[in-house]
Every structure is written in structure tokens, then in C-alpha cells.
Symmetry: C2
Amino acid sequence: MIKYHNINGIITPVEESFVHVSELALHRGYGIFDYFLVKEGQPVFFDDYLDRFEASARTMYLDIPLTRAQLKTRIYELIAANNVPNSAIKILLTGGNSSDGYTPEKPNLMILGFMPPVYPQELLNNGYRLMTHEHIRDIAEVKTINYVASLLVNKKLRELNAHDVLYHKNGLISESSRSNFFLVKQDNTIVTTARDILFGVTRKHILTLAEKHYKVEVRDVFLDEVFSAKEAFLSSSTKGAFPVIKIDSNQIGDGKFGKVTLHLNSLFDTYVEKYISLNKKAI
Amino acid sequence: MIKYHNINGIITPVEESFVHVSELALHRGYGIFDYFLVKEGQPVFFDDYLDRFEASARTMYLDIPLTRAQLKTRIYELIAANNVPNSAIKILLTGGNSSDGYTPEKPNLMILGFMPPVYPQELLNNGYRLMTHEHIRDIAEVKTINYVASLLVNKKLRELNAHDVLYHKNGLISESSRSNFFLVKQDNTIVTTARDILFGVTRKHILTLAEKHYKVEVRDVFLDEVFSAKEAFLSSSTKGAFPVIKIDSNQIGDGKFGKVTLHLNSLFDTYVEKYISLNKKAI
């Protein structure tokens, strides 16, 4: 059980963690975040996530009030306070309290403990069903809190019995709501989209691992390519490489966890384990 | 001085008005709002704003936990508690506290008292300078809390000594960050944009008033039309009809508060006064 968050430097019980209603995230959607898993008390790919968090903050003109080392210390302190070895951390940096509801003053920095989502066994066996949706995220490369487009399609997702969206625009695929998208061609070449996406940390490592075993293409991907793919999968911090078995009414491959996806998922798991074990030794 | 807000039905001192950090507006930018002036204790164009607020809520699948009559009562109670006859109200409806940071549970409804902005005399005399910016807001017709695009251009606005943006896309103008846009042609025809905008309540009433005195065109407006306009102005709840005297490096008209804009502004002021006086009699 997660008991504590850190709100602007103060370790605070979850049920007492509040922000003032003048916070600009509430009024203007002004905020960025990042989210990573914690395994055996160690943040997974810690510097990758902090690199991206710092880059998002710079693009959005939000000042992080801490150095990298101070931020790491604060995160480790929260992990220790919660004492849940396998969990997750969200760092949330927002526009801060504003007396007029528009002008930024001083950002609020929240470090929040979470339990990572548990995916039902059926999903793990069978994978995701995606619904295509024409949309491109604003400043897609920055992890802003703006998820309005994905919230708006939730009702349609439920109606169509799909798990998530696959965004595309002008025939080009970009990403899912909180995951990157890959496909595996009939000759086992691994293809992923190159632009108008959030550059996932999991995506990065899967690409590095994939290059050792497969031909890899990072490029524009057309919607109609997807339907002739042998396999398709999503990558994300919580899912690793996760199979997609249906896109709209089209079954991908044989509708099961594909061999290449399974292989990459296993390579990725091993790579995470190695990262954690090296990191623990370093401490 | 505004002393109180109403948070989920409870009149709360401003300094004690908080939301929990699990609020979906913080995590996913999930929220809508509306904002209107209060004059002599009366909300200006009350039903127009509540119409729009309810429409925004419907589009975003957010349930308002009150009937129109109950919402009005709650707002009047807050106005009475603050006892500031000339002020403003923001109603903010957000995704609510969510245990996983993604799945909506029960919306939070905040009714917030504000003092309306006071524009410096120089601005009132001389008007706004706008900077054109290529962008179109997502679901522009809904008053969501997503203002990321306008926050991102703030730095450039300051550098160019401009007050606000004028959004355009594919050669077509839409709106400013928090105002609608009008221009006055050399023959005094009043023109405003027809789509990809938030349909302003002030815009609506100014159009109705303008039609009694001028030829009015509501249609697509091209960026290059703007530079040959006799006058240009913005409309908003807090500004009425407000002159624009420069767009990028182009002076509009003679760079002063134009005659037609001044006329419309005066017609609008009179119309607001009449609304308030009729409303007070009705109570």
C-alpha cells in the first residue's frame, strides 16, 4: 500500500495530499509529468525518465526547483517511506498557484507513489484491441497532462469493445494514447513510427534490443501497412512489449501473442532485471 | 475582496480551498469551465453561460451533479457570501479524484469567486497588439481547460511586445487565446470568423447589436484580409469589444480605438446595463 506522496518537498500522507484550487493545471492544463516503475526499490531506467522530465519542463517553461541529484534523493526518500519495493512513481510539475488563474508564479512539484496497473490474465494472453482515431497530439514529444482527445474517445472505445486508440493523421500512424506502436512485417522486420510521438523510454530500449536480432525500421508508417502485418505491439513502461491482436475489425496475424513480440518482451524483461541488479550493486 | 469559494457544495474560505492530488484535471487535463462577470450582484447573461457550461460538460462526458436551478442557487449563495457586487465567477467541473490517475469516478464542481481583470488605461486607449500563430485548438467549441498552446507562446509574446495571439491555420483565422476576433472592412461591414472557435457569449450579443446598425458577415476570414481592415477588435466577457491596433508588424487602421469598435462597445455596455436592470426587477 502506498501511504505517502511528496508535495513540494514535504512527505505527506496520501489522504492529506492536496493542491490549492488556484493551481494552473486546473485552470489552464499547465503541467508535465513522467512515470516510471520501481523494482526492488530501484527506479527503472531512472536517468532516461529524468532526462525526459527535464526536457518536458524546459519546453513548457516550467522550472524544476531541484538539481538532478536532489530530485533523485527526494524520490529515493519517498520510496523508502512507502517501503513498497515494486511500485511506481509519478513526478508531476505544474504551473503552480496563480492569483489570476492565468499568470504563472511558482511551479508545484509533486512526487506521487502509485501501485502499477495489473493487467488481467486474458489481456496478457490475448493482447489489445485498438480502434483507429484521426488525431495528432499537440507537442506530442512533451509529456504534458493534456489527454483530452483520449478521454473523449473512451465512450466509443467501450462501445466498440476496444482497449485503446491508435492515432493517425493524413494516412500516417503516430502512437496510442499512452504507448508507442510497432509492427512486425511478414519477413520479421520490426517497424516503428518516427515522428509526432512521445519518445518512450521503453520504445528506446526495445529498439536497441531488437537491432541485435532483427532488421529494424524507424520511419513513417502508413495505416494500410498495419493490416498486412504479421504482428503488432505496443510498448510502454507498464506493459513492456504488449501484443495488439485487433485493429478496428481487422485481426492482426493469428490473433495471439506473436513470436517476435514474445521474444522482444522476454529480452526486455531480462534487460530490466539486469539494470536493476547492476544498480543495486552500485549503491 | 473575494473571501469564499464553493467546493463541491460547501462554502469554503479561499485559502482553505483545495483539491486532492488524485484529481484528473492534474493528471489528464480533464476539465471544463465557464467564466462570467457579476454586476450589481447579478451574473451577466447568466443563462447563456450556463447553456455553454452544460454543453461543454455533455461533450466531455462530465456530469453536472445539479439541475440548472440548483446551480443558479449555489452561485447566488456564493455571490451573497462574498458580498462583492462587481466581481466574476468561474465554474470549474473536473474529472474528479481517481485512484489510478486515469479512470474517471465522480466529477469535482468548484464555483470560484474572482475579481475581474482591470485593464491599464494605456490598453483601453490604445488597444491590443496581436501576434499571429499557426494553431487550431482541439475541440475549439468546448471550453476545456487546455490552454497549452497559448502558454507556450507567452515567451514569444513578451519578446515581440505583443499582448496575445491570433490563431490561424491554412490561411484561415480562428480566434485569440481567450477572445473572439472581428474586423471592420473599409465600408464598415463587420466580419467575424465562423468555425473552429469558442462561440463567445459576448460575440453573440455583439453580433445581434451590430446587425441593427451595420452589414454583418459571419464566415471564413483569411489572414491577408486582416491587414487591409479599417478596424479590428476582440470580444470577450471581460473586455466587451476591444480594439486591436497592431497584428505582427502591421498597424490596423490609424492605430487608435476605431469608431465602429467604439460604437459597438458602447452599444454592448448599454445592453449589459439593461440586462442587469431587468434582471434585478425580476427578482
